[in-house]
Symmetry: C2
């Protein structure tokens, strides 16, 4: 498994870099999906489930972390192309860092690449990575007040995946309240409650992702 | 309830500011405890339990968040002095911001002040707030791999509180592995597994905090 040590980009304009990354991926028909969440929201478990459920697609994963390679190793074990990016202490990845990591594993032959952003609900929402689709993950144990506390993340996301729904009986988590709060911040946001453990809701999420992949290749 | 809008300090040296905050609090016999964790780790629920369990102490709380006042409102409802600080999008608080918020509610007559830092395992570990004691909270649903991914947070903390232990039966969480990994990073770290819901382990944590308060007043 490849490990890459990234430094903050020196580029003056992250937005311009992001547009360039997006255009290049579009030309190659590669859909980049940026996954953002708190630490421990179940991103890697969700990804493992999605990769197993969409074996007909060529999928790659860029894991961004401050330290360790545990996530990329878990992804490689289930057969996807993975790269572990270390962010030199930074709490987000920018477009230049994304490009560097994607180039290092060559994603041009893939259909779908997931960028597992650094676990954090603040900084990742502030930096465009060049992804065509932004997805936020909120796990049931984190609580239903998160749209009130981290509005920008909900505003910037195309979809909200509510994970660990199998834990709903053990936590005070009001799914309808989250839905209402998220839609108030972002009326276009798609919401998918799932359990990667039981498989509940995974089909709906996979169908949406497949449509996004198709749409990206043809439009 | 007071709400204060903080901006990043312009001071050249956060470390010097932090030492000044620490000295001033020490002189007044006020113990400042900095609580750091992911979003949704149960900081506010833990705090509510601690405030109820230590009614003999005069306790204040500084809630730091990007947005909303839900946490400070919850704390005020149980009768503690609270201030909600908004961090202007920043993912941490520094010593200058801490001082500004503490001055705004006047903590000089208190025994113990908790600073509920912004929910995040990265940036808060990098900024000395002036607290005499740093405590990290890790909730069971977040997973036992966190010491591998966020080593600095574990290195900087005097104590690790493992919350939501009532959820242990529903998650793959190896408490012994966390203990081993945390002690490897920081051999002096105190570890308290607790459930604020059932009360399990809260006595041990309260005893330790009381000792810290006493020690701070007399040494």
């Amino acid at each position: 498994m490849k490990v890459i040590e990234l430094k903050k980009s020196v580029s003056a304009s992250n937005d311009r870099d992001a547009d360039r990354v997006r255009a290049e991926l579009k030309e190659n028909g590669v859909l980049l999906v940026n996954l953002m969440s708190s630490p421990g929201s179940g991103k890697t478990t969700l990804l493992s489930g999605l990769i197993r459920g969409m074996k007909d697609l060529k999928i790659g994963v860029m894991e961004a972390d401050i330290a360790s390679t545990v996530d990329a190793e878990a992804i490689e074990r289930i057969g996807a192309k993975a790269i572990q990016a270390h962010t030199d202490g930074m709490c987000h990845v920018d477009a230049g860092m994304t490009k560097e990591a994607l180039d290092a594993i060559d994603v041009s032959d893939l259909d779908l690449v997931f960028l597992e952003n650094v676990g954090n609900l603040i900084c990742p929402a502030e930096y465009d990575t060049g992804a065509a689709v932004n997805v936020m993950i909120l796990s049931v144990p984190e609580g239903d007040d998160k749209p009130l506390k981290y509005p920008l993340m909900f505003e910037k996301s195309d979809a909200l995946v509510i994970t660990k729904t199998d834990a709903l009986p053990y936590f005070d988590f009001d799914t309808e309240a989250v839905r209402r709060r998220a839609l108030k911040l972002n009326p276009g946001i798609r919401i998918f409650p799932v359990s990667a453990k039981t498989g509940d809701g995974m089909n709906e999420l996979e169908t949406w992702l497949r449509n996004e992949v198709d749409h990206h290749k043809t439009n």
